[in-house]
Symmetry: C3
Subunit: 348 residues, 3 copies
């Protein structure tokens, strides 16, 4: 049966004003462009305000500045995206997690699992693992010896957590992620590489999200640390000894090399790279595909490289010009000298 709520029910506890019919029934969410009757949508970009006149949506969440005279119920708030997030939770049809330990799960000696926690089919829990209340370990997961999983944290299906890893409360790890794999440390002796044992662990704080197939290596000596509220997208590589500060958000395909320290409240765009052993201050924004090769001391927006795809012929010419820059600089220098000589001669 379809879910349905009045606008009043949906906004309970949120700091909003309803313009329109507070008893209007909402049955789902939609986008403002592909709107559906009875659904609620939101507006965060003024460019889309034009759709308000014609949208078929049942209600829209928006800022005071975007309110117009239109035949639609409006939820006015200072933070439409956040209010949408809270309302959308009503319509989330994600399957419920069943409480309890699936009979196929393999539980190690000395593991302490809260009775309200869940362990999915074919999952393996190591020795002396501690799993707190309402934690959910999905199907086909591996949780190594001595790990600690905080209250209400969630591992989706097919997650690997190596030994000696701590995961905080309400944190969520998506499918395919690997936490606590060995850091990439090898010592060269007479031409051969010898593994340096990776004796540290990984500490993941509270309210952290880790995306699908992301990898976080364990520390070499100390722990790799992901502080509270950090959000990591898919296919990110976090090398050993890295520290990521609280509430920092990192988009997909980013690589962070060993021992890098990233501040709090940073935002790192997709496919950027952070060099090893450098520090990034708090409140730094790194745009996508940027190579951060040195420490960044001050808050601000940072970028590198040449972006922007151009037709391949232009790209080839640009590349050729770039590789002739030394020649160009030399010619300008010679022109300057010659011009100076000429001027002096003229004046003498």
């Amino acid at each position: 049966m379809q879910k349905h709520y009045t606008l009043t029910e949906l906004v309970q506890g949120l700091d909003v004003t309803i313009k329109g019919d507070p008893n209007f029934i909402i049955t789902g969410v939609c986008t403002i462009e592909k709107s559906k009757p009875g659904c609620i949508t939101f507006l965060t970009n003024t460019l889309y305000r034009k759709h308000l006149a014609t949208t078929q949506a049942g209600a829209v969440i928006l800022s005071e500045k975007d309110v117009v005279d239109a035949p639609i119920n409006m939820i006015v708030t200072r933070n439409p995206h956040y209010v949408y997030a809270k309302i959308a939770e009503f319509f989330d049809d994600k399957p419920n997690q069943i409480t309890g330990i699936h009979p196929t799960a393999v539980i190690g000696e000395g593991a302490e699992i809260d009775p309200s926690a869940s362990i999915g089919p074919f999952s393996i829990i190591g020795r002396q693992v501690k799993i707190a209340a309402h934690a959910v370990v999905g199907a086909q997961c591996f949780v190594g010896d001595f790990c600690e999983l905080g209250a209400a944290c969630q591992l989706d299906t097919r997650v690997t957590v190596y030994h000696n890893v701590k995961i905080g409360q309400r944190s969520r790890i998506m499918s395919g992620a690997v936490i606590g794999s060995d850091g990439f440390g090898f010592a060269n002796q007479q031409g051969n590489w010898h593994k340096v044992p990776q004796l540290g662990g990984v500490q993941i704080g509270d309210d952290v999200d880790v995306g699908a197939n992301t990898t976080i290596d364990r520390g070499a000596v100390e722990d790799t640390v992901i502080e509270d509220g950090v959000k990591l997208d898919n296919l990110i590589q976090v090398a050993h000894n890295v520290r990521i500060g609280a509430n920092t958000v990192i988009a997909g395909c980013v690589g962070i090399a060993g021992s890098a320290v990233i501040g709090k409240n940073c935002m790192i765009g997709g496919a950027a790279c952070v060099n090893g052993h450098i520090k990034i201050a708090d409140n730094v924004i790194i745009t996508g595909m940027t190579a951060v090769t040195k420490s960044i001391q001050e808050p601000g927006i940072y970028s590198s490289g040449i972006l922007g795809a151009v037709p391949n012929e232009e790209f080839r010419r640009n590349n050729a010009r770039f590789h002739r820059l030394g020649n160009l600089m030399q010619r300008v220098k010679e022109l300057e000298s010659a011009f100076k000589a000429l001027t002096e001669r003229n004046e003498s």
Copy 2:
């Protein structure tokens, strides 16, 4: 026992001409450089034509234009690569998939599985999942509630498909891929990030290939869509709400940000990145490592950045020059002014 076929058997139904002995027995495939007697090879690059005189291969597939006078059986066709693909199928020793549901598989309530479909060991099928005829779910897979798998589609071992995902006919998902993970959406409220529920699903068309450890996120509101015939290589990230047009081919390590729309029949080179909320027209080719930051309206080949590895010292000098470009431009401007002033003085 070794497989063996006559040339006539191998080319049945293909638009080719045999030059040589149609009853020649072929027992395998080889490359033209490392040829083996009794094996068949192919030639698509005229540079390799020189090997025809000396190759030990039993037969070669090639274009009319590459035919030379050489003591080897030839299969002449307008599309040697395609003809090779069809012939190579005869020698594929990939293990056969066993029909039936493995006794260890966990099947959810209300799942409808065609009797001709297969489910491997330790796989989990969610509630009300529909699996069509001859579909193969490999070992250790997870298929979430309400998913639909089309006829003859194949999940290799260890694939995750979250709930509410549709996969078309004959599509194939390789090991480690994750389909339907949550999109990366968070709303900031007073410095903290709150998850925006990702209520859309994923639609994967017919004849789609998804590579190993590739991730495709579910949509925020609408579905993420991969149209028919799309081929995705390994370790690709497809963010929420993306649409990839039919028959587009994308190489490994590519990242596609949220809500990007990619046209039909495109080719995207390895490690390229596509910005969010942009559109790429049909028939566009993006070369490897390109950053597509803006929409592309016209078919053509597009590239970005400075490619081509040079000795590190030259690279350092180039980087220094690049960061002094503003200074160089200013000096040229001053030279122009001074020269103009001098000329005018001379002429007056």
Copy 3:
């Protein structure tokens, strides 16, 4: 109970000199900055030598050139990193692998498993697989038909090895890695892509390390080859037909396109890309994020692109200047011509 060893015990068999108390008891490892009493640390970077006077560590491993007069036990050696690696092995608390085949494992017909080998829970071993002495297959692994695993090699949990793959002695594959997935080969026939069967396998030599979620495709005709002693970090893509030479080390997020041949003893930095069908000589160093588009014939250090994050405004100006390089070159050329004309006129 805590592990403890005398310095003499720790350095047995290593080419070192002890300065201080050879009977001093060591109970763990630490870094030189966050030192702990009773722990051993190492010094490879002279910049950190200042910490020697104040460190609380029980002993330090260092080079002769870094020895100072400080109240700490010293292990003097020509290779502190290597000596640290060997000593750290004493303190590795990685869980022991249990010998034997877990009762849940599914073993294929004709598999030959040495009695000293281990197979973890929910793992699947294909038909006619050969597993040598002391090899360890972790939990939830898949090893396809006809594979061969060498003595003392180790698959961590949740590793996929497709059919016809050989892995050498003492090699280790971390969680989530996929070995032997199909190469990305499709032939276009009248606008549709047809799969080219990937009939080669993968050969992985001895003492190879493969990182978490790294993917190595099987060859199209011949095998993909990873030679002895190669070390691959996490999230690396190795395409079909690639060959990586012995003792080459590759950092995370690197992509290597099809049929590339990389020499021995190379080092490739994170997120670099190697084009298909090119050759890289032995002893080549590629710095991070470099795009190697052409073959490299000579040993040396190679780089590409514009690295180094700058404030976004400067980045935008630099990008604009770059795209006006053609204009600048033209203006310099015109200045040169005009200046030459002027000079000639003056001289005539």
